[in-house]
């Protein structure tokens, strides 16, 4: 078990290092510099600017400095937003993203499980088909479509919610639905299929035979055993929610990190792009690492293999 964890952890660090290096190389290979502007600047000013941002040193030295700063959790200074450190910019915007993300993850898991259980318990009946319709819609309608449609119907036509922003608890409803529609559908399908398998197994029959009440069978035996695939999926769910929020934040005008990310790419604000990339990467890899661990804890069979966990 220790070997398994260590293995995974080293892997994560290695991947992170490769990503950081690749990002650094890519950013420096791009023609043009964020310090260039339409206004003509004198060569002296240009030089001073470069010296200020450390761009006059050789690339390898810049890389070394960057890594050193990174080890101290310092992501540098934004080049477009004057005098603001990337750390501060991320810290300021991550708050909104985190709240929305947590609400969405919780909604996905709860609603997905509920839908999946209902579908499995009423196998081949009306409710099963209804759940199927919901999950097909959730999988087929991408967030780019879902979010504007929700906005149009519930905020513009019915006026039940605010069109944009993230000020009160009600403002979470539409973005959360848009973000968790696909994960809900996916989790519902996972739970349904594994639940059906579990419900047909012998130990459930035993439980029934010894006279255990229906809801006890579902809660104590069936659900616990069919949660396994969902645990694996959690890491990917968090990744999905984070990447999905890039679009959702754009549409609902939420000042979160995803919105900044797109903006920084369009602005070519290199320190900011790198900062957010690395931040995202750490977040995503850590969540995958944790979900791998959780899975290994729950399922002892997995500890024997060093391979990856199925999606």
């Amino acid at each position: 078990m220790v070997r398994y964890v260590l293995n995974k952890f080293l892997f994560m660090l290695l991947s992170l290092f490769i990503l950081i290096t690749a990002t650094f190389v890519l950013m420096n290979a791009v023609p043009g510099s964020p310090l260039q502007s339409e206004k003509a600047t004198s060569p002296q000013i240009q030089k001073n600017l470069e010296a200020h941002y450390g761009l006059d040193k050789p690339l390898i030295v810049q890389y070394g400095i960057y890594l050193k700063k990174l080890a101290q959790f310092d992501l540098g200074i934004s080049m477009k937003k004057k005098f603001q450190s990337v750390n501060k910019l991320i810290a300021g915007s991550f708050d909104n993203s985190l709240k929305l993300g947590l609400v969405s993850v919780a909604t996905s898991v709860l609603a997905g499980c509920a839908l999946g259980i209902i579908a499995a318990l009423y196998h081949r009946k009306f409710l099963d088909n209804a759940a199927l319709v919901v999950s097909v819609i959730g999988l087929a309608v991408p967030s780019v479509v879902m979010a504007p449609l929700l906005q149009y119907v519930f905020a513009v036509k019915i006026r039940a919610f605010e069109v944009a922003g993230l000020n009160g608890p009600m403002d979470y409803v539409l973005p959360t639905i848009a973000l968790s529609a696909a994960p809900i559908a996916f989790i519902a399908r996972l739970i349904r299929s594994s639940m059906l398998e579990v419900l047909n197994s012998d130990f459930i029959k035993t439980a029934k035979a010894k006279g255990l009440a229906g809801h006890m069978i579902v809660w104590r035996h069936a659900l616990r055993n069919s949660m396994l695939p969902v645990v694996t999926y959690l890491g990917y769910l968090i990744a999905n929610v984070i990447t999905g929020s890039v679009v959702i934040e754009q549409i609902f005008a939420i000042p979160g990190i995803g919105k900044f990310f797109v903006q920084s790419v369009l602005d070519r604000d290199y320190p900011f792009i790198m900062g957010i990339t690395i931040f995202y990467a750490i977040l995503l890899m850590a969540s995958r690492f944790l979900s791998d661990l959780a899975y290994a804890l729950v399922d002892p069979r997995l500890r024997l293999q060093t391979g990856r966990v199925a999606k």
Binding site: L139, V141, P148, Y152, T243, V265, L284, R288, R308
Partner: protein, 310 residues
């Protein structure tokens, strides 16, 4: 399957029927090959067939609608901007007076092209990489698998967006960016299949006859793994289409005046309270396409492996 004798209602319903051993060994119907089985299971799956016919329809429309339609996707007509759908402009026009019917099908072409191109690149790299990885096993497998795992652990969207910073946003960039990490899933599927197949007799026989490793992999093993490969291929198309729409929506993808569903949706969002049709049509067809590929892919998977049926 079918009973040899037709049970008749006799006076005594519980009297045992006469046994006729002569017919016991007779084969009642011709046996089906594996592919016939797959086709049978697929064609009897209504949802999958709906997806299939939807796809055919979408592909035909994407090809032929722009050819016969009187308007093209880029000519402006500022006199006729933001027209609601009517008999000349079936889907209405956008803010520059461009015909949305033409733009929608142009967008379909782009989406389908991106989806198919990305899936095919994944297919080629995945089969070669996965084939070699799975066939040789041991050290080769270990090293190649490690490399794939590292690449896989790097978040997909980050790679795509980073590449878009580096290269100009265009169709090619999107496809290249998606292929960088897209092939890994395919490679793992092929690897798994290889590991199962390489120890079977036909592979051994081929080896005994002196076939080279490459010949065994690509002439014998890969064709036998075609089922899972096809399924993965079909299911990777919608995710590519989705990513293209996602990136174009953010302004990081296909650039104007080319019509992509993502950019059209982005344009439509800005004015959805006044001109909802500008959002509605690209949104509808994007969802329909993704839906069709998903249900068809699911059906295909069930058809190839009925045990997996969910």
């Amino acid at each position: 399957m079918a009973d040899l004798e037709t049970p008749r209602a006799t006076a005594d319903p519980f009297a045992p029927l006469q046994r006729d051993p002569s017919g016991a060994e007779r084969i009642q119907r011709r046996s089906r090959t594996a592919w016939q089985d797959v086709r049978y299971r697929l064609t009897t799956n209504k949802l999958a067939m709906t997806g299939f016919w939807l796809l055919i329809l979408l592909v035909l429309m994407a090809f032929f609608a722009p050819l016969v339609w009187p308007f093209d996707h880029y000519t402006n007509d500022l006199q006729l901007n933001n027209q609601p759908p009517d008999s000349t402009h079936w889907f209405g026009t956008d803010d520059l007076g461009r015909d949305l019917f033409a733009r929608t099908w142009k967008g379909a072409q782009i989406s389908l092209f991106v989806g198919v191109a990305a899936a095919l690149i994944d297919l080629v790299i995945g089969i070669v990489y996965g084939g070699i990885m799975g066939y040789y096993g041991g050290k080769v497998d270990e090293v190649m698998n490690r490399f794939a795992e590292i690449l896989y652990s790097i978040p997909y969207l980050l790679v795509v967006i980073l590449l878009l910073v580096f290269m100009e946003p265009s169709l090619t960039t999107i496809i290249v960016a998606m292929s960088i990490t897209g092939w890994i899933n395919m490679a793992w599927i092929v690897r798994g299949q290889m590991m199962q197949l390489k120890n079977q007799e036909f592979a051994l026989a081929s080896k005994a006859l002196g076939a080279s490793s490459m010949r065994i992999i690509f002439r014998h093993l890969v064709p036998n793994a075609m089922g899972p490969i096809l399924v993965t291929l079909t299911l990777s198309v919608p995710s590519a289409i989705f990513t293209e729409a996602f990136l174009s929506f953010l302004g990081l993808g296909v650039q104007s005046p080319v019509a992509s569903w993502g950019t059209m949706i982005n344009d439509g969002v800005q004015s959805m309270s006044i001109y909802p049709w500008r959002l509605f049509f690209p949104a509808l067809f994007l969802s329909l396409t993704i839906f069709a590929f998903n249900v068809f892919g699911d059906g295909l998977r069930d058809a190839f492996d009925p045990k997996l049926k969910k």
